[in-house]
Amino acid sequence: MSTPTTPAFSCPVPVSRHEHVLLGHGGGGQMTQLLLEQIFLPAFSNAALDARHDGAALLIGGLRLAFSTDSYVVKPMFFPGGNIGTLAVNGTVNDLAMCGARPQFLSTGFIIEEGLPIETLRQVVASMQLAAAAAGVQLVTGDTKVVDRGKGDGLYVNTAGIGIIEAANPIAPSSVRSGDVILLSGDIGRHGMAVMAAREGLAFESEIESDCAPVAAPVLNLIEAGLDVHCLRDLTRGGLASALVEIAETSRLHLGIEDALIAVREDVRGACEILGLDPLYVANEGRFVVFVPEAEAELALEVLSAHAVSANAMAIGRVTQDPRGLVTLKSLIGVTRIVDRLSGEQLPRIC
């Protein structure tokens, strides 16, 4: 970088000028990060929270427990491959799994907009029951509120969950080590594009379905196989890129991945190309990354491939020493560049 020749501006720290919460604050990108760093973390700071992992790892009466929560505001409520209910159940199940825990019990809270057809509610709840059964969890407590018509997007669902941690060592970004291999459980971008396919103004015809699914089974298998899993993270909004950037920043290590190794299904790519979206940032709901020592990578892939949800798991890169905590991507033509968080949500473009 060349030295600027005009007088330098005084403050090097970016100042957030937002006085109101924007949609982008929920996008999982830089703006969400700002909200976390400026408002939530300073207020609630404690060891569990500061670990900044998907769920909290807690010690209660000698038992190591994982505890997590997630809220769903997705529109459209129903999309190819799932609905807000399946997302709500699997979202929390997966967050718990990412702590190396066996998910067992869930709570759920519904905020319903007046006027929502009862039939819609029935369908969502039926899906949640199926998803819970498939994930081996029980919904044991809940709450319902109704808000005025016009004050909600039809339905908001929150779930919280608890499970016993089965991993002997802490599974968190702080456990990642230089030399670790980064594994990805499957192809990316399905959920985001499935939802996009149904959006007015952007709709297209395809067979893309959300990859929404529970991933606890392959994860617990990895632990049972005695593998030294350092970190797990499920990919949600913000995609693969955002998940890796968070881990790199928290662990203060360099994550190097290769574009040629990252699987994207052809039709998902087609949809991304038309709308000008980068699959690296598109939402997923049934995919996760695993950090294991190099010596265990092959066995880990074997374990993962025995499960349908991670049948096509692949190695996509490795961890190296570099306290700047960056994520870099080697492009298809062999040049390496930085992968950063997006500013807000990724928007379709024509330019």
């Binding site: 007015e200 870099t328 080697k330 033509i333 500013s343 330019c351």
Partner: protein, 370 residues
């Protein structure tokens, strides 16, 4: 994907880069005039593959970046009105106006919707007869046929609740403005391939002759850009200044005649202001008399706004290729993608945003050869 994947082949890319290395004997500065090309260059790292004698500068090729502050402010004004559904391509949502942007307006309750095509905006108009639907018609010549057709169809149907806010710009006048400017460093151009699918490339022949610069019509995939660079460098080394067509699989010399016909039917050439550059005569498109009832500026009485741009924003110099994004004092500090000062930082194609996302910290590990 056919006609995309083949052009992203790493081996072929390196071969082209090597070919440039073999023929180049001195430094040359080339400008690409299309945001899509800027994006590809930075995303794939094409400029890092090329020998350092080649300097690629990014021109005002992003219609998002060059849309003047006034037009954004007009869009913001219209979008706030009750009974208006404001439709736009996604690119425009985050571009800062004088005080705010469309995304913020949307958060504040305005009915702002992203569409993929102007035809989607037409459909929204048909489905919502009680509302006024305004479409933000931004773009280069590539998008003009689509926007023209939307207006044409609206006229045929007698659709009364549809109008467009026009901010169309033309490429050749911008290129001429850059070439004619004092202190111009650009020695060759990679012309925007998709603009040329519509307009052809006969308009560039007088430019190449007058300013003695090679102009190569270039596509958007890595191999296209590398071949375009190779062809431009070859011309420069051989002392030629012709118009060549690298993107022949999509571009014909005369362009797309039916598309040009509809553009001429609906639009006429007008002077346009380019953000960061100023007004360039004959550089824009506006609705013809017969279609002016579809002009949102007239329908909503948006009048003549004049707005000054923040003095710290040097995006004008960046767009003219005279400043690299990381040479701007505000880059990365006062001006970042979260709070951009100018459009070049907002648009994902903008040179500043591209640099910020991919380049702001030098990456020491260089794995060009593998």
């Amino acid at each position: 994907m056919k006609f995309i994947d083949e052009y992203r082949d790493g081996n072929a890319a390196r071969q082209y880069a090597d070919a440039v290395r073999r023929i180049i004997t001195r430094p040359w500065t080339l400008m690409e005039v299309c945001g899509g090309q800027t994006h590809a260059i930075v995303k794939f790292g094409i400029d890092e593959l090329l020998p350092k004698e080649v300097t690629l500068v990014h021109g005002p090729g992003c219609p998002v970046c060059v849309t003047p502050l006034e037009q954004i402010d007009k869009a913001l004004l219209v979008s706030s009105w009750p009974g208006v559904i404001f439709t736009s391509f996604g690119d425009m949502l985050r571009v800062p106006g004088s005080h705010t942007d469309l995304l913020t307006k949307k958060a504040g309750g305005a009915d702002v919707r992203i569409v993929y095509s102007p035809l989607d905006a037409l459909k929204i108009a048909r489905d919502n007869p009680g509302k006024q639907v305004v479409f933000f018609a931004v773009g280069f010549e590539t998008t003009a046929p689509a926007n023209a057709m939307a207006v044409f169809q609206a006229a045929q149907e007698g659709l009364e609740n549809f109008s467009i806010l026009v901010s169309h710009v033309l490429v050749p006048p911008a290129m001429e403005a850059i070439l004619g400017a004092k202190g111009n460093l650009v020695q060759g151009f990679l012309a925007a391939g998709h603009v040329c699918t519509v307009m052809g490339y006969t308009e560039y022949e007088p430019l190449a002759a007058k300013y003695q610069v090679p102009i190569v019509v270039t596509g958007f995939e890595p191999l296209d850009i590398l071949q375009g660079v190779y062809m431009a460098v070859k011309q420069l080394e051989e002392g030629r200044h012709e118009v060549e067509n690298q993107y022949a699989r999509a571009v014909r010399r005369d362009g797309n005649l039916p598309a040009q016909h509809v553009i001429k039917e609906v639009f006429e050439v007008v002077p346009r202001k380019w953000r960061g550059v100023g007004e360039i005569p004959h550089s824009g498109l506006g609705l013809r008399e017969a279609y002016r009832n579809f002009d949102a500026e007239i329908r909503f009485g948006l009048g003549d706004m004049h707005v000054d741009e923040p003095p710290e924003c040097l995006s004008g110099l960046v767009m003219q290729g005279r400043l690299k994004p990381n040479e701007c004092p505000a880059f990365g500090s006062m001006c970042t993608p979260e709070h951009p000062l100018g459009a070049t930082m907002v648009s994902s194609e903008g040179a500043c945003a591209a640099y910020y996302r991919y380049r702001r910290i030098a990456v020491e590990q260089d794995s060009v050869r593998s």
